[in-house]
Amino acid sequence: MQLAVNIVVLAAIYALIACGYVLIYRVSRVLNLAHGELMMLGAYLLLATASQFTGHWLTAIGAAVGLSLLVGVLVYLFLMRKMAGEMVLAAVLTTVALGIFLRGLIVLVWSAQQQYPAHRLGIANFAIALPGGARVSFFAALLVMAAAATYAGILLFLRFGRWGVRMRAAGQNPLLAAQRGVNLHAVYALAWGLSTLTGSLAGMLIALDSGLDQTMAIVGLKAFPAALVGGLDSLLGALVGSLIVAAAEVLLIHYVDPLLSEVVPFLILIAMLIVRPWGLFGTREELDRV
């Protein structure tokens, strides 16, 4: 029972992070390898707002979430917009460079020590007993709920929202969308903002649950296989992929070898790339035309 709970919590973490990869890839075909670092930045932003609004933890989280949205939009406006029309690979490498830059910057501003935002906000973590003898920490439960709410919100937004429809249109055919009056730059900026926001939300909740240091970026990278297994352009796929990767990881660590934790997601990734590169729910890339 505890194992099942662990799987669900890990899947929720991966799902919440993976939806950021999917959003950006779906809309602009750019793989954001700085997502782990942006997520870490979001968590550190919470640390910053926590010292501003001590005692009002909802305000602090709200302010940090707002700031992370702003960060995402700014990253697009000042960096990725310049890469529009360049080779896709150049854009991906730019995100890698951004990730390295952010890692350095975060240590410079907040130091490399382990930090505890929950402590700073003055809220205590406690365990909730579940039926079946399993236990889950309060923030982990919050994380599962946040993941569910985020997915519901984004799916509804993409389906019915005016900007959501524009985002889908830009993802399907940018040229046609632009000709029909969709402001591509605004749509891309929104995608970056939303992606950073959801990633940061995951980062904040993980940090509240178990503290915050430089290793968080690796969690972000490990969520990437989840996105790819499900299909890089499918939100539903990201959800399923997260469940698969999380289940495999938890079970293998439990029954085989804890050292495997670092490689399991990537092993699944290789298997998926061999069998079905476009993922479970992804759309197959178009054929070459000359």
Partner: protein, 358 residues
């Protein structure tokens, strides 16, 4: 390799001259001067500078190999650190388990590299661009995991100590001797690349890079040439890793992080894609960059306060420089070099004539 004629006219009278790598007397003079300078360096440089030079040379081999694969054949790889690790661990294991001498370990490292090259290259037959990069990234984690597993299983949890190699009965541990060995290795790699890049293989690679479907339609064996690119690049990279293991005298998985891969990718980007000179310039720039930053930080007032933060400053500055190159100078250092060259060649004019010979 630049294909524009370097002499002021066409003076070739023998077929041998068509094959010559060096055409003009000015080039001979420049090459001789460069060789004398390189040979003289270890006799004037301090041990610290000599170590820097050795690091640059090691990075140069790896960068040349990656340039072949990414810059010419157009196959993106994020598994470079994994291949370096494979070479280094081959040496470590061969020395620890079998006391193998260097003339056995280096070829076996090349063989392991070639084998891994096939493995890394297999996904490229189905995948392209982004997906290929991701699959090589995953293989990197796999290789590093196997290395870590070997370390813990055999009880070398902090790393494997590799004794200095013996050549002709003498142990090579002197910095000066290493400098010349590495210089020879870079020269050999460079010659290999130069000759590959004027062969049928290079033309096939460029065709595949430009458009795979067209290349296949022209009768080029796309799969074979892609695998060949991976095999050659990986074998050279593994040898670079093996030399790294001998030079450092120590092998540990910590040295082969994802960051190392990114550094090599940065070398070929900052140097300039599709140019061997670019790979070498990039290797020099990226290797020396942290030391430049350190020197710059020490110049600032209150340097003591930053001493513990140096690695963070390095990270941030490295990321920033890489972003600046990608956004503002996609052609890299070679692009800048060519522009300077053109400026002096054309002076006092600004632009090349339109429609004339380029």
């Amino acid at each position: 390799m630049s294909r524009r004629p370097r002499a002021s006219g066409y003076f070739r009278t023998h077929y041998a001259q068509d094959l010559a790598l060096i055409e003009t007397r000015a080039e001979w003079t420049a090459l001789t001067a460069l060789l004398i300078a390189l040979a003289g360096l270890p006799f004037v440089a301090s041990p610290f500078l000599l170590d820097l030079a050795a690091q640059v040379l090691l990075a140069g081999i790896g960068a040349l190999a990656l340039m072949l694969l990414t810059g010419y054949a157009g196959q993106v790889s994020l598994g470079h650190a994994g291949l370096l690790a494979a070479g280094a661990f081959t040496v470590g294991i061969a020395v620890k388990e079998f006391q193998a001498p260097i003339w056995v370990t280096l070829p076996s490292a090349a063989l392991v590299g070639a084998g891994l090259g096939v493995l890394f290259g297999l996904p490229s037959l189905r995948l392209r661009g982004l997906y290929l990069a991701v699959s090589t990234l995953a293989l990197h984690f796999l290789v590093v995991y196997l290395g870590a597993e070997y370390e813990t299983r055999r009880g070398f949890s902090t790393g494997i100590v590799v004794d200095p190699p013996t050549i002709a009965g003498k142990a090579i541990s002197d910095g000066r001797a290493w400098y010349f060995i590495l210089l020879a290795a870079v020269a050999a790699t460079l010659l290999l690349c130069l000759n590959l890049l004027r062969s049928k293989t290079d033309r096939a690679w460029v065709a595949i890079r430009t458009n795979e479907t067209v290349a296949a339609a022209l009768g080029i064996g796309v799969a074979a040439h892609k695998l060949l690119a991976f095999v050659i690049s990986s074998a050279v990279t593994a040898v670079a890793g093996a030399l790294f293991a001998y030079y450092r005298g120590f092998v540990s998985v910590e040295a082969f992080s994802l960051f190392l891969t990114i550094q090599y990718v940065a070398m070929i980007i900052i140097g300039g894609m599709g140019s061997l000179l670019g790979a070498l310039l990039g290797a020099i720039f990226v290797t020396l960059f942290p030391y430049l930053i350190e020197a710059a930080v020490r110049m600032l007032p209150g340097a003591q306060g930053y001493a513990g933060m140096l690695f963070a400053v390095n990270y941030a500055a490295f990321g920033a420089v890489m972003m600046l190159f990608l956004v503002f100078e996609p052609l890299g250092l070679v692009g800048i070099w060519r522009r300077v060259q053109t400026y002096f060649l054309l002076w006092p004019f600004k632009h090349r004539g339109v429609g004339g010979r380029r």
